[in-house]
Subunit: 239 residues, 2 copies
DNA sequence: ACCTGAACACCGTTCAAGT
DNA sequence: ACCTGAACACCGTTCAAGT
């Protein structure tokens, strides 16, 4: 083995679509998704904004590439998108796959925001969903039930639940909500009573205001229960 | 009764926040959400863009007002956000309320897109969710289960299911997907088989690629089933 | 082949000024 | 009280030009 020279400074490494995607991910991790502009990504790479266009068609394509890169991260974490032929315990397999995807999302909490605006699926993403479907089909789903299942799962299939009305600053929103609810309690009797009863734990890892691990798993398990019930009834109806 | 004079032309009616919101809704209905800019809304009202700022704080506030106006439309359709005290058939009541909300969303198919970007809840919206929760509490939910239920429902509580990877042009996307799948069938065995088996009906009213009425109701009913199961078990566990 | 400088079109928004 | 003209900062993107 020979001693490697010092890594060359970033400026010397030629640009590539892959480097652009990775720089965008680092930038979003560090400064948030709002800070991700063509100019800022270029700046992080020590290059002019217009240079990016040689490697990516436009900003939408850049974001597609970012999502694709995240899917590769999930794939690596899973050791590949695996569908075991003949495996009938679809529920455990599906649940584990989704919860692993979620660990990647938790590392990139801005990811749900950009995934929500995607309009085209990348190949890696389609392969991921094919593996989710495969797990269900091997577990005895009809194609029709599998199709329904994909739509019922929605973003939960990727490990997150995009909340409606996600506040910018959860703490400020909590305070504001408390003040508002105190005044309006008579008009919002059920919500006021509920919020007095259930406490948000601000310390747990979460992808949104209430998208913490226990909330996510509650919803996921409810959906898996419903799918299992329907799997059994469609299977028995065929006999 | 006296004969009313001809309605005065739009230019004469003084602007108001309400007129701004309604103009924005008409514009989005007619030309799509992408066409909704401060300049275009102003133009539709025969006024300069800067005049809007006298009535709404900024574009975010304008969109909040648009959502609030849509909620009023739902409220009118329902004859008020109703919670009947002592009504134990929570399931029928909740299902009906949500499906009525959906009819309003179907009239404004761009609404899910802007609701997804909202960060603050308007009062009308909070009252709506209070009524959904109220229906469940009257039906025997604990506050904890009601809280879970709100999150499991997510956007479906408002009558829509925001799809991941919604194509701009569903027809083009279908064709493109078909072509892609033909080539890649060996790598996507389950999806290819499923798509050959389940057909999309392009004629049905839908809010998204696959968010048609039957798909929406399948998911809603699965969730309601799951909630009922958990309501029964939390109730019996208290005895 | 790869990168850049200058410029364009289009945003939301500000501010001082009009009536 | 209500509306406007001019201007600013910041986008994504184009195009012809550099090396």
């Amino acid at each position: 083995m020979t001693v490697q020279p010092e890594p060359v400074p970033d400026q010397r490494i030629p640009l590539s679509a892959d480097r652009v995607h990775r720089a965008a991910i680092e930038l979003a991790d560090a400064e948030g998704i709002a800070a991700l502009t063509m100019r800022s990504v270029a700046g992080a790479l020590g290059v002019e904004a217009m240079s990016l266009y040689y490697h990516v068609a436009n900003k939408e394509a850049l974001l597609d590439g970012v999502v694709d890169t995240l899917l590769h991260e999930i794939e690596a974490e899973l050791g590949g998108f695996q569908v075991v032929k003949g495996e009938t315990d679809w529920r455990t397999a599906l649940r584990n796959t989704i919860l692993v995807a979620r660990t990647v999302m938790l590392r990139h909490p801005w990811a749900p925001t950009i995934i929500d605006t995607r309009t085209t699926m990348t190949f890696t993403l389609i392969r991921y969903f094919d593996s989710l479907l495969g797990i269900m089909i091997e577990g005895g789903f009809t194609n029709d039930l599998g199709h329904h299942a994909m739509h019922v799962l929605g973003s939960r299939g990727l490990g997150f639940n995009k909340e409606l009305f996600e506040p910018d600053d959860p703490q400020a929103a909590d305070d504001e909500t408390d003040a508002m609810l105190a005044d309006l309690a008579p008009q919002l009797p059920y919500l006021v009573a509920m919020l007095a009863d259930v406490a948000h734990d601000p310390t747990e890892d979460k992808l949104g205001w209430c998208d913490d691990q226990s909330e996510f798993e509650f919803a996921l398990d409810l959906i898996l229960d419903g799918l299992e019930t329907r799997r059994i009834s469609t299977t028995s109806a065929q006999h």
